[in-house]
Structure formats: C-alpha cells, structure tokens
C-alpha cells in the first residue's frame, strides 16, 4: 500500500504544477497567448535593416546616445503590430517610448502619427505595446543622455512565450509548501501543532522577554525609552542630510527612497543577528528549565519588529520634514512587513540552529550581510546595474520586500498578484525550512550551548 502522505504529496505536486503554469503562462502573459492564437505576421529586422538616427555606433551593435536618438524600421506593406520586441540589453529602465509611425510605406513621419507606447520588460527583453497598423516605425528611445543599447534585432509581433522562471518556480512551490504546513499541523505527527500550542502557552513569557529587551537596551540612560525613537530619528536625519546632497540618482525624493530600504534592511539584519545567538544566550535557561526553545528566536524577531515600529514612527517624522505627500496605499505598509517578518523568522531559525552547532556561522554571516546589503537596491536604484546583475538582484528575496514596501509607501501603487505571490512564497519557504530544521535539531541544542 502506498503511504497516504506520499499520495498527498504527489497529488499536490501535480496541482502545483498546473497552478503555477496557469499563473505564469496565462495570468501573467495573456498577451503572449493572444499572440499565439491570433496568427499575426512576424517580421524581424537585424543589422542594416535598422536605421539609426542620432546614434553613435562605436562598435558593432553597441550604440550610445548623443541627442534625440531614434531607431527606424520600414516594412514593404502595412501590417498590424500588436507587440514589438527590442532584442538587446538597455542600460536604463524605460517606462515608455515615443513611437512615430506611418500607415503607408513611403509617407514621411508626421507630428499627428505619434504616441507613447508603454514598455514591458520581461526576462531582459523589452516589449512595446503598439496595437495598430503600421508600415514604418520610428522609436524615439529617450530624450536625455545616459542610455546604452546593445541592439540585436527588432521583432514585430514576436511569437514566443514569456515565462518568468522565478514566478514559475515560486508559484510551483507555494501550494506545495502550504500542504506541507497543513500536514505538519494536522497530520499524525503534528510537529507544528505541538510547537504552536507550546508557544501559545508561553505567550506571557514572550511578552515579558520582549519588554525586557526593550527596557534593558536603553537602561541607565537619562532619556530611557525615548531613545528608541530618538536614536533612529537622529540616524535618519543624518542619513537624509548626507544622501540629499551626495548621491543623487535620477530618483525623486532620494532620502525617502533610501530610508525605506534602510529601515527594512535594518529589520532583517537585527532580527537575524539577535536570533542567531539567542539560543546560546539563553543557555542558562535551556539547561535548567523546560521552555519551548523556539521562544528564543521568536522573541528576538518580535523585538526587532518592535524596533522597526519605533523606526517607522521616526521615519514618518522625517517624511513630514522632507515633505512627502502620503497616498492611500500607505495603509498597505503592514503587508510587506508581515511578509518580511515571516521570512525573517524562518531565516532566523535556520541561522540559530546552525550557529548553535558551529559558531563560525556568526562570523560568516556578518560578512554575508554586508554583501547582502549591497545586493539589495537600498542606496542605488536597480536600473543603474547592468542587465545580468539585475537578474541576480531580482533573485534576492529582500529586493522584492523592499520594492513592495516602496511601492505602497513611495510610489503609491498596489503591487500585482505575482509580486504578492513571490513575497509570500519566499516567506513561507523560509518559514517551513526554518521550522523543520529547528524542530529536528532542537533536542541537541542543550549539548552545545
């Protein structure tokens, strides 16, 4: 007889695959499907078939912008173009491109036949949505200097499926992770159920430990608890003053951009660093009294969360000083923080377990976290990175949380379903891994603390 658990897992795997395929292919690339179904003619232009205006071709394929640069392509007869693919790497993130077009082949470009086409970047390819009949096209890429383009070809009505592999993998794992959670919660072994009920039983201890940490941090200072807000506030004011004048990328409200990233990164770094040594730090308790050990990393994560809340209050004060107009999406700021908290807790459990057995992990991690900070777009916008770096940074979970947070607080937009799923998937995967690792090893902690 096949084990019931195996059966459930295989079943889930199939469901997951279908679900993620549906999400990544259908939900996120509906135009692709339409493209495939609609049988539009595909025309591609390469090399000399593309004429460039105002571009300085320094070497083959590499073009750098001088002034009012444009790319021109001409067809023999008018065709209906739904999508246009610029195949190549662009060193800047474009949001829209002005397109001039003609309806018949030999007509000159006129001022009336111009419009702005929205740009979609998927897997490093740049798509323009045109949705009209044209015979010649001129793409006016950017008005300002500072864009480099390595152009390989331009394709009208590209017929290919755009699958975001990250979304595919993560959405595949997501239901899987959820089922594993449910199995651990309600299954025969019920490991998580036990953990959950023991944490619930010890919740007064959790509160007490957090208050202890908050209280002892600034004990013996004259201002006491006021420092919890004052400290991040002063820190942010200094950073704002520095970044308002030194680093200036083409970002509005750069101090705010920086601070939103800084606050979240601080949250991660505090939570993980505190939790990592929480088990060793609580050795006195672990050896003498029975306490569910998961309390200790959880407590440190909660403590970091409290610190984050203090920082947020300080941040609001700074934002008022800088003069940011709040949008209603600001109210959604809790969502990325919840995602990030779960992520933090999972990562903390893994690190705490490792660090208990091998103290080296602590030293390695302190180096790693510096690297991690630079791999997260905190002090720079992601668009200044070369394409291959961007795809690495996009694999960094923290990038998604920071961008989510910025989207709701700074840009006033609501992140898409796929962004939410990516964040949720990262959180739950880390939480699951953390809980499993921690539960498997927690009985051995006592011999190593």
């Amino acid at each position: 007889m096949i084990k019931r658990k195996t059966l459930i897992l295989v079943g889930t795997a199939i469901v997951c695959l279908l679900f993620s395929l549906w999400l990544s292919v259908w939900q996120f690339s509906q135009e692709n499907i339409r493209n495939l179904l609609q049988d539009l003619p595909t025309v591609s232009f390469t090399g000399e078939q593309i004429s460039t205006i105002g571009w300085d071709a320094t070497e083959f394929g590499l073009l750098s912008v001088e002034e009012n640069p444009a790319i021109e392509v001409r067809c023999d007869e008018p065709i209906y173009v739904q999508n246009l693919l610029i195949d190549g790497s662009i060193d800047r993130e474009l949001t829209e491109v002005t397109v001039a077009y003609t309806e018949t082949p030999d007509e000159p470009f006129t001022a009336e036949n111009r419009f702005s086409a929205p740009v979609e970047v998927k897997n490093k390819d740049t798509y323009l949505r045109l949705e009209r009949s044209v015979s010649a096209l001129r793409l006016e890429l950017c008005e300002d200097v500072g864009c480099e383009l390595e152009l390989e070809q331009i394709v009208l009505n590209p017929r290919r499926l755009n699958v975001n592999y990250q979304t595919l993998v993560l959405t595949f794992l997501l239901p899987f992770v959820v089922v594993l959670f449910l199995l651990e919660l309600f299954g025969d072994r019920g490991g998580f159920r036990k953990t959950l009920s023991s944490v619930w039983k010890y919740r007064p201890l959790l509160c007490d430990l957090v208050t202890r940490d908050v209280k002892t941090k600034y004990r013996r200072s004259i201002l006491g608890i006021l420092w919890s807000i004052l400290n991040p506030l002063l820190m942010m004011l200094v950073l704002t003053a520095v970044f308002a004048n030194i680093f200036r990328y083409e970002i509005d409200d750069f101090p705010v951009y920086y601070l939103t990233g800084y606050i979240l990164f601080n949250f991660v770094s505090e939570a993980t660093n505190f939790s990592m040594s929480s088990i060793i730090g609580a050795s006195g308790l672990i050896k003498k009294v029975y306490i569910p050990k998961i309390i200790f990393p959880l407590e440190k994560c909660l403590y970091a969360l409290v610190n984050l809340l203090f920082s947020l209050i300080a941040a609001v004060i700074v934002f008022l000083i800088v003069g940011v107009t709040p949008q209603w999406t600001l109210l959604l700021f809790v969502v990325p923080i919840i995602y990030l908290f779960i992520f933090n807790f999972g990562l903390s459990l893994i690190l705490a377990t490792l660090n208990t057995f091998f103290r080296d992990v602590g030293y390695l991690y302190s180096v790693f976290i510096t690297l991690w900070m630079y791999l997260t777009p905190i002090i720079y916008p992601i668009s200044i990175l070369p394409g291959w770096m961007q795809s690495i940074v996009r694999l960094n979970p923290l990038y998604h949380y920071v961008e989510y947070f910025r989207a709701v607080t700074l840009y006033g937009t609501v992140p898409s379903l796929s962004e939410n799923l990516i964040c949720l998937a990262y959180s739950l995967i880390f939480l699951l891994a953390g809980l499993l690792v921690f539960q498997k090893k927690q009985n051995k902690f006592i011999f190593y603390v």
Partner: protein, 246 residues
C-alpha cells in the same frame, strides 16, 4: 484518585555522545568528516530505567556522583529528551533544578518576579495576585526596586525558591537546592515543601543529605551507574545505601 500514576518513566535510556575532541567549527568538522575521524565515545548515563510514581508520593533518589540522578530529573522535567524510551507526566511540574535560572541581572526584583513567573509558565495576572506573597516569603520587601545583580547569592536563592513554589504544582522536582542559604532559610524551605506535600503534590528529591531523604521520603530509588540498583521502603534502601558507601 489515590493510586494514580503521575510520572511514568518507561525503559528510558540516555546516551551522550562525547566527542573525543571538541569540534565546534565548520572547517574542522568538514575535515574530520572527510577523514571519517569524528568519533564519539558513547557514555550511557541512564540505561533502561523504568519507574512509576504515584500521586502524593515523596520519592527520594540516592546514588553516588555520576550515577545519573540529575539526568533522570532533567528528563522527567522535559529539559532533556531521552535517547530511548519515553516519559509521561500528568499535571504541572515545578522543577527546582537551579534557583534563579532566568533572572536578568539588569532588571529589578519586581521585574524579575514577573519574568521568572512567565519562565515557569505562570500567567501575568496570577503572578500579580501572588506578588506580595512572594516578597513576604523571600523577605525582600526592602529591595523591591533594586537590580538583581546587586544581590547576594542567598537573596537570589530566596527569591528563586519563592517564585518556584508559588503555585502548588502536581509534581515538584527538587535537585539539591536545599543546600543553599542559611539554616533558617533551609528550615523555611523544608516547611514549604512539607506544606506542598500535605496537599497531595508528588515530590521527587535528589539529595546527598541522607538524613533529609530519610526524614521526607516515603520511597527511595537507588541509582548506580545509570541503573536502578534498588527501589523500596525508605529505611530499607537507605540502610543498604549507607552500608555500601563504607
């Protein structure tokens, strides 16, 4: 209600892996793992212990140093997980294995009472109600707002004992803690334990003070090299134990 088993230890074996050298960094671990050099010397602290304790019993555990007494208590109170076998306990356990475990030296007496109360699994309201009782017992009213780091070891022990015996637990586990404090405090502690016992609490005591065991216990378990050498009536076991020592 009378003859109900509250602690059920069945076939418990506890093995410790004692690495010959301490390996606690990744490099050494990997090198040794590659060379297959990680050798453990197995140390059996307890082997195949089976023990049932019924409600209201006061059980003493005697044995020489290293015979596994404290390990057994730690397993019963849930601090250690046995390598084999299982332990089931019914009811609340108050382990008095070390007094004042979990005190934060920076915090005051008041704050530590709440913190330690929650370490032992008591609710906040419960501790608040018993607050004055604790300070009465510990005789620390004058030091209510003093940081614990300024206390003497006797004061810490008093406070710890007062908090730990705050509630009448179903099972009280006492590991040689009665050796701390002056004789007045020891008498007070013993009185408190007697009070708890009369209320139907099951008590497990480890002590080297054989007179104390004789005075308090109704049954004695004698451990030797991790095995139960003998279990039975207090006088019978204690006499044999005392004779074997000589």
């Amino acid at each position: 209600m009378q003859n109900q088993t509250v602690v059920d230890v069945s076939h418990v074996t506890m093995r410790f892996n004692m690495p010959k050298e301490k390996v606690d960094n990744v490099k050494e671990y990997l090198i040794k793992a590659l060379k297959k050099q990680i050798r453990f010397e197995e140390f059996v602290a307890l082997s195949d212990i089976t023990l049932q304790i019924e409600r209201g019993e006061v059980v003493g555990i005697v044995g020489l140093n290293g015979s596994g007494k404290s390990t057994l208590l730690k397993i019963i109170s849930g601090i250690l997980e046995p390598s084999e076998g299982s332990v089931r306990t019914y009811g609340t356990i108050s382990p008095l294995i070390e007094l004042g475990a979990g005190f934060d030296m920076e915090l005051t007496t008041r704050e530590n009472i709440y913190l330690n109360g929650s370490v032992l699994g008591f609710g906040r309201d419960f501790v608040r109600n018993k607050y004055s009782e604790i300070l009465d017992f510990a005789e620390l009213w004058d030091f209510e707002n003093v940081a614990v780091k300024n206390f003497s070891s006797g004061m810490i022990a008093r406070l710890g004992f007062a908090i730990a015996t705050l509630v009448k637990p179903d099972i009280l586990i006492v590991d040689e803690i009665l050796a701390v404090g002056d004789f007045l405090f020891q008498q007070k502690c013993e009185k408190r334990i007697n009070e708890l016992m009369s209320g139907g609490t099951t008590v497990l005591i480890v002590s080297h003070a054989i007179e104390q065991i004789e005075r308090l216990c109704s049954r004695v378990v004698w451990l030797e090299h991790g095995r139960v050498r003998m279990t039975g009536e207090t006088r019978e076991v204690c006499d044999l134990y005392k004779n074997s020592e000589r």
